[in-house]
């Protein structure tokens, strides 16, 4: 089974497509839960690119960076969902356009 079967470029193109989906979702959706999901997709595609590059040269570094991205995603999503609860309580909606004045 040795040798290169799936070129690294194909994985990177997939990661780029997933990242663009997440970016488009982040820019087009107004519901904060969907914006958080888009952020997850973007972080996940970055992790995919790292793991693919690590696997290409059979080094562990890619998976180490994947672990760090995982920690970042977990911290980001816990704070983000706390913000969702606060926004729902304060504005009675999940539409981010209501929270555009930076006032408490």
């Amino acid at each position: 089974m040795g040798g290169l079967q799936v070129p690294l470029e194909h994985v990177q193109v997939l990661a780029a497509l997933l990242f663009s989906c997440g970016l488009l979702g982040l820019m087009l959706r107004r519901n904060i839960i969907f914006m958080l999901m888009s952020l997850e997709v973007m972080l996940n595609s970055a992790a995919l690119a790292f793991v693919a590059a690590g696997a290409r040269w059979a080094e562990a570094d890619g998976q180490v960076i994947f672990l760090l991205i995982l920690a970042v995603a977990a911290a980001e999503i816990s704070v983000g969902l706390g913000l969702v609860l606060q926004i729902q309580r304060r504005f009675k909606t999940l539409d981010m356009d209501n929270a555009n004045r930076l006032r408490g």
Partner: protein
């Protein structure tokens, strides 16, 4: 043959991500997002990173998605909750994610008894990752622990029902 598995999982990952981000209902979107994360986990497994694949399922598709489900259920549950539940059990809502998950499962079973590393031919074992993590990257581990601590404190602060600023403004 093995590379076809990769491309099938890639198509599943991309299509379910697009479906997830175009749904109107957050709970339906979440199901598609979970399938997308499972597809990425299969990709990791096929690329020879079984540890990353396991963590992707445990933490992304498990812990983080449970947080999402928890918040969505907390916000949506009203008097219409029961009707919503009945609509949610309609096969139209789960048949496509179910079929895609079954496809991924078949792929995984098929790939289990063959050497899975598709990009270099060599697996990177969890042992190597651990040695690397607590060797040259130990500072990054400390930084990640501080980040998680900050996330914990921030989530606790934001999750309280009444905070001080709120009371003062009202």
């Amino acid at each position: 043959m093995m590379e076809n598995l990769f491309y099938i999982a890639a198509v599943v990952a991309l299509s379910t991500t697009i479906l997830a981000l175009t749904r109107a209902n957050a709970a339906h979107a979440l199901i598609y997002l979970i399938v997308s994360l499972l597809a990425v986990a299969v990709l990791f497994f096929l690329m020879g990173a079984p540890f990353a694949a396991a963590l992707e399922i445990l933490i992304y598709a498990g812990a983080i998605m449970v947080l999402f489900v928890f918040v969505i259920m907390m916000l949506n549950l009203g008097e219409a909750g029961e009707d919503r539940e009945r609509i949610g059990l309609h096969p139209r809502n789960w048949i496509i994610p179910g079929l895609m998950t079954a496809l991924l499962f078949v792929e995984l079973v098929y790939a289990l008894d063959q050497v899975p590393a598709l990009t270099s031919g060599v697996d990177v074992s969890p042992k190597e990752v651990g040695i690397m993590l607590f060797g040259p990257y130990v500072l990054a581990v400390e930084l990640a622990s501080m980040l998680l601590m900050a996330g914990l404190v921030g989530a606790y602060h934001l999750g309280r029902r009444f905070n001080i600023r709120n009371v003062r403004n009202n």
